[in-house]
Amino acid sequence: MSHAVSEAPASTTGSKKKAKPVLSEGKKAERKLGLMLCAPAAFVMIAVTGYPIIYSVWLSLQRYDLRFPAQQKFIWFDNYAAVLTNSYWWTAFGTTMLLTVVSVIIEFVLGMALALIMHRTLVARGLIRTVALIPYGIVTVVAAFSWYYAWTPKTGYLANLLAPGSALLTDKVPSLLIIVLAEVWKTTPFMALLLMAGLALVPDDLLKAASMDGANAWQRFTKVMLPVMKPAILVALLFRTLDAFRIFDNIFVLTNGAQDTSSVSMQTYNNLVKGLNLGIGSTMAVLIFITVAIIAFLFIKVFGTAAPGSDDGGKR
């Protein structure tokens, strides 16, 4: 068939046509149209992320506090030294890492279970898929308030049920668990949908053949399904890990960062809104950006070339 199909692979494998020295009129027109159609989107994305990040690096090298604008001064890496020797920063960093790792692991296990349920259930498949989308779609702040009230002594059904009389959200460990619960509830469906798309790629024949050869359900899952699903798993884990690392809404509502439950995003926000310290805030912004880049890099290293955006990436 066609143009669309033969073009699609070319788009992801890079343009072999670049090597051609002479371009026909039609090709030239096509290039021009392509560039023109992409220009507005590219411009907005660069203007709103690229420039601020560079500006942020510049700000991070200055002493810049909106309360004392007269003291603005270029101070090289002093802000970085200040942040990196600050125990609050490291506590928040540790908390964020911990929340990310724990919630992504739980989400992956639950998400896989939910994906299998949505894929295989005999009864009410449409209903299950619809209901599973609700946590995905719901406003995070709303969900966070629901959990907050559920765990508030007296008001909440869960607080009364599980630990009558104690205010769990005023202790560090229970608070962190509740934050993980809220994260997991909200994002497991998204994970499950991505995994379900991977599940759909597992050929039924392959499973049947494995079954004939005497593989039990667990062996079929680990030896047949998981390898086929690897690209989908990578995408799901990568997206969720980076998303979990920016956790903000849930913590803001549930504990507002009390008892060392604050995340790096909360710290940056507090610095900006309460401290109005642009120098320190930008330093944190740059550090978070670097951390996220490292996480993404490690993921792609560990999982190899099956990464999205790389050559055989999402095409499967």
């Binding site: 392509g34 994305m45 709103v48 995408v235 803001f252 995003s265 930008s282 999402g314």
Partner: protein
């Protein structure tokens, strides 16, 4: 779909039980907020899952204050404008990515992926200062711009995946049959592309509707504060009043559109989410 063994009643019952577990998991937190929003002030702290006394007072309370109505107008306006712009720009770019050959396509795809993973908080401090200097702080465009930016990768990915599935040769066929290019587009291509565009619009809208970080950092007054941000500033009608009931009522109101989308467009949303992420 099912391998090994016939579909027995026993299997159905077991799946039914698993399904109920999923339903409870997904719905309980939502129903809890709904329940709170219908409780009277006296019974708010009884901890009962089902209200003992029902009232609509909480809803009446939020709709008499400008605090909530204003935030609702901001939320709706900002989300719709951002969605329209992001989907329009995204459609143009996705069409080019799916159908045309041009230099820099790889870069654009890579850039979208980077932005999809970008830590949004890294932009909060610099954007705060840039918008303050440009006079965009605490205005609608001040929120619409970052929303468009973070919605664009989502639109480009989802739409280009949809566009690749369209049988474009139909366009040629229509032209051969004597249709003008405009007719071919309007009668053949647009109806085929519309579901993808529509799905993308829903996903982008949900994203904008949900945002809290930008909403709370780049606004300071009712002029542009959206509902999620306003919720966190809610106090009762007097400052000594517990805002639980009113927060819950407001929370239910902003959840309604999401529930409607999910109910009516479940299939499309699932298709949109997965095509964008898996097919790349």
């Amino acid at each position: 779909m099912v391998m090994g063994g016939a579909v027995t009643t026993g299997r159905k019952v077991r799946w039914g039980l698993v399904d109920i577990l999923v339903l409870v998991f997904a719905l309980v937190p939502v129903l809890w907020v709904v329940s709170l929003s219908f409780k009277t002030k006296a019974t708010l702290t009884d901890g009962s899952f089902i209200p003992n006394e029902w009232t609509l007072q909480n809803y009446a309370d939020i709709f008499v204050t400008t605090e909530f109505i204003r935030a609702l107008v901001n939320s709706i306006g900002i989300a719709i404008i951002a969605t329209v712009i992001a989907v329009t720009l995204g459609t143009m770019a996705a069409y080019a990515i799916a159908r045309l050959d041009f230099p820099g396509k790889q870069i654009l795809v890579g850039m979208s992926l980077l932005i999809a993973m970008f830590p949004q908080v890294s932009l909060v401090t610099p954007l705060f200062n840039i918008e303050r200097e440009l006079g965009l702080f605490d205005t609608w465009p001040g929120l619409i711009l970052p929303y468009i930016t973070f919605a664009l990768p989502l639109s480009i990915y989802t739409l280009s995946a949809f566009f690749r599935e369209i049988p474009w040769e139909l366009e040629k066929a229509a032209k051969m049959d004597g249709a003008t290019p405009a007719q071919a587009f309007r009668k053949v291509i647009a109806p085929l592309a519309a579901p993808g565009v529509f799905t993308t619009a829903i996903l982008v809208f949900i994203f904008c509707w949900n945002d809290f970080l930008f909403a709370i950092s780049l606004t300071s007054t009712e002029a542009s504060r959206t509902v999620p941000a306003a919720l966190s500033f809610f106090t009762g009608s007097s400052q000594f009043e517990d805002p639980t009931g009113t927060i819950s009522a407001a929370a239910v109101v902003i959840t309604i559109p999401i529930i409607l989308f999910v109910l009516f467009f479940q299939r499309r949303i699932v298709a949109g989410l997965t095509s964008g992420a898996v097919k790349g």
